[in-house]
């Protein structure tokens, strides 16, 4: 079975924009992951 997630997430709109935030995955290809574990995070810069 396979699950594909497609989603929008915050990204930096401009390097000059102080209020921007950025999404990044916190896994690697081939990693085993379990329900509830973080797939990615975003932070205010």
């Amino acid at each position: 079975s396979t699950v594909v997630l497609v989603f929008q997430a915050p990204v930096s709109r401009s390097p000059k924009n102080q209020g921007s935030s950025e999404f990044s995955f916190c896994t690697r290809k081939g990693d085993r992951i379990r329900v509830g574990e973080a797939l990615g995070r975003w932070h205010d810069s």
């Binding site: 079975s1 396979t2 699950v3 594909v4 997630l5 497609v6 989603f7 929008q8 997430a9 915050p10 990204v11 709109r13 401009s14 924009n17 209020g19 999404f23 995955f25 916190c26 896994t27 690697r28 290809k29 081939g30 990693d31 085993r32 992951i33 379990r34 329900v35 509830g36 574990e37 973080a38 797939l39 990615g40 995070r41 975003w42 932070h43």
Partner: protein, 357 residues
């Protein structure tokens, strides 16, 4: 068989040709041993293949697409009928005394953790019930960080990244990609912008207030869509994807990765190809050909979708007999009520499961 016949003949000659009944009784254990040996050999080969794939991954090797004779032959098989019969077979109630042996054998073959099962093994009446078993309370703690999205399933991360180029392509394996629009359906709310508007839209985005830019879309898709020629458009900035593969022994229920509103469900009745590592390397458009359910909705930051038996819509049935030989029907779509709000799911809520057969 010839080996067993020779043994029978030799035993008959030793006993002066009067022991045919003894020869027959030898045939059954012989066949059983042969079956066990064959299953053992297949299991050993599977372990060897898994190890090879794991080693290649550790070395950072990328698998390339190579269609082969086995994959072509697979496409000729009546996989839907086989799957339905397999489903019927696994729905047969197993005697209580036999259940722990069957489920332990399954767990051993597919590396399942039986200690996490919510109920004692002898309470799962069928293999199908066991396959979609729930887990003990607290087995899967949900990451409480409000600025993270969590995995909806137990599995292996096959691919992930940001969709940037025109057509928004997801790589199946090295050298072969498929379009996300084909995966999700032509009616998808996928946030795309046409090529000629790309520049203008980019400029507008720079000026978008933060509260508006934080509106995004979510999708979770489980397995197979129609091929749709993508228009000359590019995904909007900040559109990501992640492909997760579940092995047969994994926990097969699906949870919500974030707080979101499910607005639309789309069911593509396609083929039922396997989706294992080998299949991704040998079957072209694997994810676009396979049957899948797409859930589409909105969350604070964007967009999502998913394929399986839906707990939020228990009457939906997949893997039904096909009326047509060719898979040309459009997906069946349902808009959840109330329109614009749909079904609200919280992060970690159980929302669906992959059934067996």
């Amino acid at each position: 068989i010839s080996f067993v016949r020779k043994l029978q003949t030799s035993r008959a000659s030793v006993n002066g040709g009067s022991s045919s009944s003894q020869g027959n009784s030898f045939l059954v254990p012989g066949a059983t041993v042969a079956t066990i040996l064959m299953l053992g050999a297949l299991h050993a080969r599977r372990l060897y293949d898994d190890k090879k794939v794991e080693d290649a991954r550790e070395k950072g090797l990328e698998f390339e697409f190579h269609p082969d004779v086995k994959a072509t032959f697979l496409q000729l098989l009546p996989l839907r009928s086989i799957s339905r019969y397999w489903g019927l077979l696994t729905s047969v109630e197993i005697p209580v005394w036999l259940r722990p042996y069957v489920y332990r054998a399954w767990a051993r073959a597919f590396h399942s953790n039986l200690e996490e099962a919510a109920m004692p093994l002898d309470e799962y009446a069928t293999l199908r019930d066991f396959f979609v078993r729930s887990l003990k309370e607290g087995s899967r703690p949900i990451d409480p960080d409000p600025r993270c999205l969590v995995s909806p399933v137990d599995g292996i991360i096959l691919r992930f990244g940001e969709l940037k180029a025109a057509g928004a392509m997801i790589e199946q394996v090295k050298g072969f990609s498929y379009s996300v629009s084909s995966l999700l359906g032509a009616n998808s709310l996928l946030p795309m912008i046409t090529e000629e508007n790309t520049h203008a839209e980019s400029s507008e985005l720079e000026n978008t207030p933060k509260d508006q830019s934080n509106k995004s879309w979510w999708r979770v898709s489980l397995a197979s869509p129609k091929v749709w020629d993508p228009v000359a458009s590019s995904p909007m900035k900040g559109l990501f994807y992640c492909v997760i593969y579940l092995k047969p022994g994994d926990y097969h229920r699906i949870h919500s990765p974030i707080d979101w509103n499910v607005l639309v469900r789309r069911h593509f009745s396609g083929r039922l190809f396997p989706v294992n590592e080998r299949a991704t390397r040998t079957i072209r458009n694997l994810y676009l050909e396979n049957e899948r359910v797409v859930l589409e909705g909105q969350w604070q930051e964007g967009f999502m979708e998913l394929l399986q038996l839906l707990f939020i819509e228990p009457e939906l049935r997949t893997n039904r007999p096909r009326k047509k030989f060719f898979h040309s029907e459009p997906p069946e779509e349902r808009i959840y009520e109330p329109e614009g709000v749909g079904v609200m799911l919280k992060k970690g809520d159980e929302m669906a499961a992959f059934n067996m057969g």
